[in-house]
């Protein structure tokens, strides 16, 4: 088991390297650089641009140099724990990023747990009672939820809660708790706000997972080992949970690999709409102003988060399925 985990971790290193190159390429794709964007902004306000100042800035950040040199300067810093300096905020990226990424990870994790908790029982019920009213209802709901884009749900929810109930649901904390130290009251306040992004982000994937669970279980329900267990005299409910559900769980667990990227990219859009203090809005801003080091750090960390999620799903899968663990 330990060797299995070590192998998987070792396998993550080249993937991480590939992500870093990709992140860097994405940042470099638009023409110009931060300094030219900055110059354009100043020019818009009507002031004169001092070319000596701009040249100075370029030199300071090594912007004129070869792309490869820039990449290695950047990645070299990251390996040492230094994500560089944000041009726009004039602060070390590390300080800006951690709180936001932490929130993203927390929201994604909570969403994932909620998704599993909801889709697992619903999937089981609609498979065991195939073609019943419950099954038809969940199927209809699942197709709707998969089809509606998340940001639209977010906007509609915002509209309803603001116009009808007069409650502001943006953000993750009430203004009173924004900068308060961690306390039970603050956690409660967080949960009161967090259910909306969790609902919005998780909706589509929950629907998809319900369908996957249903299909997996339907495949297993008529396997001979289920009949054999029934012939032993097992009660039906216990039988279904012990045998077919256990086997059907494997593809379900491995969905984390594709659900997590979907969650995180969904989170980026939704949090911009809902104005959450997560990575999304800041990343968008950084990309718009070509704040290279900040944007790069976000993309890299998001990629890292997905890799960690995949690793977790691999480990869970190995725990759950002896066929993977032992061969």
């Amino acid at each position: 088991m330990l060797i299995f985990i070590l192998k998987r971790v070792a396998g993550m290193i080249p993937a991480l390297f590939a992500i870093s190159i990709l992140a860097f390429t994405v940042i470099q794709l638009p023409p110009g650089d931060y300094v030219s964007t900055y110059a354009a902004q100043i020019a818009q306000t009507g002031e004169a641009v001092d070319s000596a100042v701009l040249a100075n800035l370029r030199e300071r950040y090594g912007l004129g140099e070869n792309i490869a040199v820039q990449y290695f300067k950047w990645i070299g810093g990251i390996v040492r724990g230094d994500f560089g300096q944000s041009f726009e905020w004039n602060q070390p990226v590390t300080e800006l990023v951690w709180g936001r990424m932490g929130m993203t990870a927390l929201i994604s994790f909570l969403t994932l747990i909620t998704m599993w908790a909801v889709s697992l029982p619903i999937g089981i019920i609609s498979a065991v009672r195939q073609y019943s009213i419950v099954d038809y209802l969940t199927t209809t709901f699942a197709f709707l939820a998969t089809a509606v884009p998340e940001f639209l749900v977010a906007i509609v929810l915002l509209y309803i809660s603001t116009m009808w109930f007069g409650v502001s649901v943006g953000g993750l904390f009430s203004p009173a708790f924004e900068n308060a130290p961690l306390s039970l009251a603050k956690v409660w306040d967080f949960l009161q706000h967090a259910w909306i992004p969790i609902l919005v982000i998780g909706l589509g994937s929950t629907a998809a997972l319900t369908r996957i669970m249903r299909a997996n279980l339907l495949d297993e329900l008529h396997k001979p080992y289920v009949e054999a267990a029934r012939a032993k005299g097992m009660p039906e409910g216990r039988l279904i949970l012990t045998y077919p559900v256990r086997v059907a769980l494997n593809p379900f667990i491995s969905t984390i690999g594709w659900v997590l990227p979907a969650l995180i990219s969904g989170e980026l859009i939704v949090s911009t709409v809902l104005n959450l203090p997560t990575a999304g809005p800041l990343l968008l801003q950084a990309l718009k102003s070509q704040d290279m080091y900040l944007a790069g750090a976000f993309i890299l960390l998001t990629g890292g988060l997905v890799l960690i999620g995949t690793l977790i799903s691999d480990i869970l899968l190995a725990i759950s399925d002896p066929r993977i663990r032992l061969s």
């Binding site: 008529h222 012939a231 005299g233 012990t242 045998y243 256990r246 086997v247 002896p322």
Partner: protein, 557 residues
């Protein structure tokens, strides 16, 4: 054996409602099962034998349902009607596993892949008896020892996929016996196993039954197995009971026409079909020499694998013109791989396969290029085992049979249509079925279609991989006879792959016995079947259940 009846089935009927009609799977079947006896229920596919067995445990799959009759189980508190217990609830669960246990056909899939063997046996014990976990575990280990699984204590913590098919079936039997049932229902328990394993499992069931005085209801389609194991036999056909008799009476004095026909098809395969003598000088059509196919088992050091699976390990075999060469072996012996390698489904890793085409010089199939192979596909064709999956369900019969003509010849559509209807009547099917789809045909008819497809381009060599294994016994010799007629007509040569000795004996001129990728013995079919030289061939032939109850060890003289 006592005369006490433990199970009385009266007028049992099971129906499967379909969209527009109702299939009467079991029609008013009545029989008795006595303590300590083995009752074999025998019949071909669709005879309702499995459904009858499942009905006894209320395990009939939906939408099927018991629509009438009684299943009376003798208990301490008088007779209980299982039909009235329903399929759910405590009462029926007390019968399942405890009073009546069942083992199934597929040992590969009848055990959960994600639970240990021990878990599944201990669970059964704990379901029915108030014992501690430790005690249940100890009993499970004893049971595994009893069914002769080595190191039972360790085997408890292993998973089913770590066991071979025979071991899994032993574990399944141990699980069924865990609560000392009075009745064991065995639904084709050896059909998926090799003959040598089958012989072991059959003797194990017999032995356990004698020790425990258990009644066994044994479902099978194999008359050889019936002759070996049954005390009494019930023959079923299309949901109805045809005949019930003691095993000796049934084999020696069958009363009903259907039973006689069934026994006739079985016995027909016991003697070789008449065949013309071989010419004095043989002309080879294909000569396999030291053929090897090794699959690497690991990536190995610096991309060079250190361990190989030797699927074919130095096989040499000659097929002469107009000859039928059988290849027999158990699963994993490499016989199917050999057939496929001859058509380059796999690229051999060593050796050569010389082939003499109808015109031109001999070629080596093992190293032939893509273009050379393409021209060979017009001369060497294949017939597969499963007629249900080897025909494309989205292609009409005409499209299926004309496809090789389209790719290998330049016939016009008109010519192809004529050829296809000619082929269809040649294989014994109506010539006007070309626009229908495979699902409209039965297994035997589909295999005839497969054969028509194979001979469409007038090939010279046909590789037939278990062509009769998926067919009922009454259809087997019909398909084999058809293949023989076609052989005489088109001067065909066959490489005939099968695990079934009786089919090989009926059909082949010479036979090669394969084990672990090697040929252990090759020779004339009569010599191999009657006087095998190699020890492995002897054990293989000896394990085949003969359809004659007088041959069994406990038969009265």
């Amino acid at each position: 054996m006592s005369d006490e009846t433990i199970l009385r089935v009266r007028d049992l009927s099971v129906d499967f409602p379909l969209q527009k009609s109702v299939v009467h799977a079991v029609k008013q079947v009545s029989f008795d099962l006595k303590r300590g006896e083995t009752l074999c229920v025998v019949g071909e596919s669709g005879s309702g034998k499995s459904v009858t067995a499942r009905a006894i445990l209320q395990l009939v799959a939906k939408p099927g349902a018991i629509t009438g009759g009684q299943i009376l189980l003798d208990t301490a508190a008088g007779e209980v009607d299982i039909v009235r217990l329903g399929s759910r609830g405590l009462a029926i669960r007390e019968v399942r596993g405890r009073r009546i246990a069942m083992i199934f056909q597929e040992p590969m899939t009848s055990l959960s892949p994600v639970h240990t063997i021990g878990h599944q046996i201990i669970e059964t014990i704990l379901l029915h008896e108030k014992v501690s976990k430790e005690e249940a575990r100890k009993r499970a280990a004893d049971l595994l020892g009893r069914v002769r699984i080595p190191e039972p204590e360790k085997a408890l913590d292993r998973y089913s996929f770590e066991f071979s098919g025979g071991m899994r079936q032993r574990a399944m039997i141990a699980m069924a016996l865990s609560c000392n049932p009075e009745i064991l229902i065995a639904d084709e328990p050896t059909t998926a196993l090799d003959v040598t394993t089958q012989a072991e499992i059959l003797s194990l069931i017999r032995e356990l039954q004698r020790d425990r005085g258990m009644a066994v209801l044994f479902i099978t389609h194999d008359m050889g197995v019936v002759a070996q194991i049954a005390d009494r036999v019930m023959v079923m056909f299309r949901g109805e009971k045809v005949e019930e008799a003691g095993v000796f009476d049934l084999f020696e004095r069958p009363q009903q026409a259907y039973t006689r026909a069934l026994l006739g098809s079985v016995l027909k395969l016991e003697t070789p079909a008449p065949r013309p003598p071989r010419p004095a000088t043989e002309k080879p059509i294909a000569k396999i020499e030291k053929l090897e196919l090794h699959f690497p088992l690991n990536a190995g050091f610096m991309g060079r694998p250190t361990n190989y699976l030797k699927a074919i390990d130095g096989v040499s075999l000659t097929i002469n013109q107009g000859e039928t060469v059988g290849v027999v072996g158990e699963s994993g012996s490499g016989k199917t791989t050999l057939g496929r390698t001859l058509l380059r489904v796999y690229d051999p890793t060593g050796g050569q396969v010389m082939y003499w085409p109808s015109n031109g010089e001999p070629v080596d199939i093992a190293t032939l290029g893509r273009k050379g192979m393409k021209s060979l596909y017009g001369e060497v064709r294949m017939v597969f085992q499963d007629p249900h999956s080897s025909l494309n369900p989205r292609m009409t019969i005409y499209q299926t049979i004309s496809e090789p003509l389209r790719t290998n010849t330049d016939m016009t559509e008109r010519q192809m249509m004529d050829r296809v209807s000619e082929l269809l009547s040649r294989v014994g099917l109506p010539p006007d079925i070309g626009d229908r789809y495979p699902h409209a045909f039965s297994g035997g008819q589909r295999q005839r279609i497969s054969i028509a497809r194979a001979v469409a381009v007038r090939p010279r060599l046909i590789i037939a991989d278990e062509p009769t294994s998926a067919l009922d016994v009454s259809l087997r010799h019909q398909v084999l006879d058809l293949m023989r007629d076609l052989q005489n007509e088109y001067r065909l040569s066959y490489l005939f792959i099968s695990h079934d000795i009786s089919v090989i004996r009926y059909f082949c001129d010479r036979v090669a016995v394969m084990k672990n990728g090697k040929i252990v013995e090759v020779g004339d079919v009569v010599q191999i079947c009657e006087r095998p030289q190699h020890a492995y061939t002897q054990s293989l032939i000896g394990a085949v259940p003969r359809p004659d109850p007088r041959l069994r060890a406990d038969a009265p003289q």
